[in-house]
Amino acid sequence: MANGFTDRRVFGGPPDRPSGSVTGPGTEYTGRYVVLLDPSDQESGLNALRSSAGIASVERVRGAEAANAAELLERPDVSVHFEELGAAVVEVRPDQRHTLVTTAEAEPSIIAAEPERMVYAMPITAPQQAPTEFFPAYRSDEDVVACHTRTEIAAAQGPASDEQSFTWGLQAIRANLTDLTGRGVKVAVLDTGVDTTHPDLVRCVEGTMSFVVGEAVEDGHGHGTHCVGTVAGPKNPQQAPRYGVACDARILVGKVLSNQGSGADGQILAGMAWAIAQGARVISLSLGAPVGPGELFPQTYEILARRALERGTVIVAAAGNDSNRPPSILPVSRPANCPSIIAVAALDKSITPSFFSNGGINGQGGEINIAAPGRDVRSAAPGGGYQTMSGTSMATPHVAGVLALLAEANSNASAADLVASLKSGAFPLTQPVRDVGAGLLQAP
């Protein structure tokens, strides 16, 4: 039944769905639209909607009259304009909804317009496509609104504890729902090497190089194998659950840390140069060294990262695990603290910052850029098995994997485009930007 101006609440029940595509259970709309107006020119936006979409007559509500708003909102013949908020809840006939959205998009004084929705708490495991649009946006696509609602609730509730098919991390970033696999995209993992005979990983390794004198690329630590697995572990591992973000990405394994887990900047620079020369679109650095409060980023890494971006390569690095929250929050490590390197924070299953995860204490690049699953992360282990590890080191390859998906989706994208897509695709969290940056990593 169409939800017009009349009789919406005659029977006292919940509002009807709007006509048009309705996508699955759990999504309800009131039929109204929420419109965000340019605060300095609110009347232009409303006039545009009046003349083109024929919205119902507008009643202004100012602060002191807010108590009346609920009553006004109930009236199907009235649109309500909250002047102090620069927002309006407008009534529109179902056949005018599309016109309203297109008008909103074209009218510069309208910042956003979207269907008003009913929100209920619901489980987060519904197998739905993840939202990719940034919020707010101009949209009439109810799929997107529904998905956004689900992700919002997912972020609030945390992913399912069920890891039978997918790790909690893949579920949280919605890598289990995308059709993208990172096919053909080269990702360099500069770490302690890899177990080159691990049955899950043998097919994803494109090339290897050791920058550690006297050590082969074979991983004698476990850190590197774990990180490679998170980027590109297979769709069907020897043993469930699936744990790799970009199953068909091609991994360049540069061993820059010894089997004891140590490495110097010179080795890391050499590994980065090799990765870029090999055509890596992404370099994943699950490594770093602590810096003090107020310490500036290393200029050499920053210059190198800028040159890498010019060549189409994005660098992501772990923010570091020096914190002990609460109350101790220590600054983002180097080289993640470079302005041109993506600094990755770690999240727990509850989608809150892990207690060890460093924060954006220092300015000038020392910010967190994005947050990803980094606690109790299952991935590959040397010897053909699996292990669960925690750290910003585990969060970082999730981000590298998503960048591979983005690069596959748009092979002509520049490095700057990939970074912009990564950040705008993240789901904003309620935690401080200092701790989570743009928010929870999301697969496209």
Partner: protein
């Protein structure tokens, strides 16, 4: 005789002008740098130099940045946090 701190070698990394990489590296060597790795395509290199020669290598024309070389140390493999 024990080395004084001024003459102890320290690790350094550089970004230099990639368009005249060889020339700058040559000048750095002349200023006292021992090169340990070089990445001509990206214009970076690493090396060691005695503390008292640091101002001289920093002053080489074409050097865009000099940082003390840092070392990454992961926790041991059995540590729960990585």
């Amino acid at each position: 005789m024990s080395e004084s701190p001024r003459s102890a070698p320290v690790g350094v990394i550089f970004a230099v002008d990639p368009d005249r990489f060889a020339e700058v590296v040559r000048a750095l060597r002349q200023a006292g740098l021992t090169v340990t790795s070089e990445q001509p395509e990206l214009g970076t290199l690493s090396g060691t130099v005695t503390e008292d020669r640091l101002p001289a290598v920093e002053a080489v024309d074409g050097v865009e940045s000099v940082d003390r070389e840092g070392t990454v140390r992961l926790p041991p493999p059995d540590s729960p946090f990585q």
